[in-house]
Subunit: 407 residues, 2 copies
């Protein structure tokens, strides 16, 4: 017997029939003798509709009232799932964020969970009742409803699993696990049985949107065993675990990509201390996230070239912001390019193995793919390439690192 | 300066634009120097959608989870109206039922308000903040969300007005007041400037669906000055007040009708004590409301005829229920007729004036309309007639009681 937290996303609870299917899955875990708490998202499309209402009434909205409006979607699903479980003969009740409570800070619209009081539902679960908890919502120190930001239901589930000391937290989604790379592009992509928290974090941060980044951070901090699996099949998914649980570690676990990058290059930037701060200060003030940054060694000791990337959505604002400070920055020319993609190889194995990055550069060179920018972390190497080479790069690297599935 | 509670129904907040219009109306009262609390319904159509979800998942639903689901509609509107007010520069915040709190009993799905704690919003209102309160919802002694039953937002508004000792409670709806009769049928119908609580109650109970019955009861009990007026025009509406506030009382205030009646006649019922209980007991057990009841004097002292009415929706079940008990009831024949309508004349003036009923019977006789059943209360006379005479009866009575508007 185990204590399990199950989380179902918007697609999995998209209509009445799917909610009834979710109830059957929950009943199966319950009938197997487990204690079960379920975290649910809003029915797909509902949150977008509610956000539309808010922004069409108040483009610059009070986030406290935004939270009142958008948290209602999860409330509805939690009641409906409790009803669907009862119909199957499973004792169940819904617990709203303010009822448990799920305590958060008061950063409305993007609140962080500070603690969940699990005593009441633990007691009920021990007596055979399934707890249904709306994801994404909590209650702030001000006594008002808060939400965690988009995708926050994953974090709700992991935080609940931590509070209940759950044996497992299963995230049911519309994919059946974490893959070595995007299977829509690389037909030989393999589903991973296990992956480490660190790798999962890097994958999430480079655009493999299987789990919300914050949820992985919370799981890693509290040692919650996460499983990503499909709502629509019974196959086991991918376990996200501590590194020491993975006996035979692959060098590379996955290859991720993001087409959401744009590159800005400043030519002839004065090469003296403080220049980087002068450039990136205004961008930070404008809430523009800068991802990769490369500064070449200055040849003449007087001026240098600087390249950095932002998201495609921020490109126009980023260019405007930099141009506004042209005089003080003293650069000669600004070039921008949104026809780029970022490709990353990720693996905890690279900590102890040399030559990982070299294998990447060689594989890309063999295909004639030019590397524009390189950045590295302890377990990741990312390169910026021309966007049209994305698929070719993914397939080549997948083969080069020996990740291809056997036929 | 006054303290006003304004209530807007589902049609009045049916879309973003209408919510913005409501905000303008609220701002006008606020700018006139009043303290304002607003009670809102769900956007029209939303509650029906939510009820559909519930009943399609669980036809015999847990009313506690039903309340979790359906209360979300008003929650959304309250947040959106607060945002719309802020956009107009009016300080505003929403207060959910559990936040004030609006305390109710635990009869989920049809809860009754036992008290509203108004201190927090009174303090904020005194400082110039508008309080926006979702109607229809509260919190039970069990700490769970409750709802008051369909139309309950009127009652929320009146109960809030009572708790805040408001000077007035304005119910904004899609009609511009209470009329002497249905203006769609009688073109000479007049809008009433004032009507008594008692008359309003009788009007509501015979199908003039302007205000929820329960809201009028609460207003009468607490002496809340109610006004029914249109969301879509600036004309004054109808004040619902105590009898002593109406100086020149008309004999008859209004003429109401209901086509939602069906008649059942039992011929040859044994005429002995306890027979009525035997008939109406099983109907009550089946939750079938019986409205009018007439028993003729027995001619032979052995058997009599009994006629009663139920709603059209209950007719089939009522007939089945009675037939199931035919043996013990010992009647000879059962006749049913759904081709009937109930017409009622209502007025507190009839307490002190004789001949009111006689004038009704004469007016109907003059038009050759046969009266099938008669029932009376202190301030109401109702008759059952064939449905096709409804319009003719309304027009004739409207003229007979001198209610016609002058040209």
């Amino acid at each position: 017997m185990a204590l399990i937290v199950m989380k179902f996303g918007g697609t999995s609870v998209g209509d009445v029939e799917r909610i009834q299917n979710v109830a059957k899955r929950v009943k199966a875990e319950f009938d197997a003798g487990n204690q079960v708490a379920v975290v649910v998202s809003a029915m797909s499309g509902v949150t977008n509709q509610l956000v539309d209402y808010v922004t069409s009434i108040a483009p610059l909205y009070d986030t406290r009232e935004y939270d009142v409006v958008v948290s209602s979607g999860e409330q509805v699903t939690s009641g409906l799932l409790a009803l669907a479980l009862q119909t199957l003969g499973v004792s169940a009740r819904s617990w709203q964020g303010w009822q448990l409570p799920v305590n958060t800070d008061s950063a409305h619209g993007k609140a962080r969970i500070v603690g969940i009081e699990g005593e009441k539902i633990l007691e009920r679960m021990a007596r055979g009742e399934v707890a249904v908890v709306p994801g994404f919502q909590g209650v702030g120190a001000d006594g008002r409803v808060t939400t965690l930001g988009r995708g926050g239901s994953d974090t709700s589930a992991v935080a609940l699993a931590a509070a209940l000391h759950a044996d497992r937290c299963d995230i049911y989604t519309d994919v059946d696990g974490v893959y070595t790379t995007d299977p829509r592009i690389v037909s030989k992509a393999r589903k991973l049985n296990k992956i480490t928290f660190e790798e999962m974090l890097e994958l999430a941060s480079v655009g493999a949107k299987v789990l919300q980044t914050r949820s992985v951070e919370v799981a890693m901090k509290h040692g919650v065993r996460l499983q990503v699996r499909s709502s629509f099949s019974d196959e086991p998914g991918t376990l996200v675990v501590n590194e020491d649980e993975i006996v035979e570690q692959e060098l590379i676990s996955g290859i991720a990509y993001s087409r959401d990058e744009a590159k800005i290059t400043l030519l002839g930037v004065a090469d003296h201390p403080g220049i980087a701060a002068k450039i990136f200060g205004p961008l930070a003030e404008a809430s523009i996230n800068v991802d990769m940054i490369v500064q070449n060694v200055s040849e003449d000791g007087k001026s240098t070239d600087l390249t950095f990337t932002v998201t495609k959505a921020d490109l126009t604002r980023a260019v405007e912001t930099v141009k506004k400070h042209m005089a003080e920055l003293g650069y000669r020319e600004l070039k921008s390019d949104s026809n780029v993609a970022k490709v990353s190889v990720i693996g905890v194995g690279m900590r102890s193995h040399a030559g990982i990055a070299q294998r990447m550069f060689q594989a890309l060179a063999d295909k004639g793919i030019n590397i524009q920018v390189i950045s590295t972390s302890e377990i990741k190497v990312s390169v910026l390439i021309a966007e049209e080479y994305t698929e070719l790069a993914l397939r080549s690297l997948h083969t080069a690192y020996g990740l291809d599935a056997e036929d």
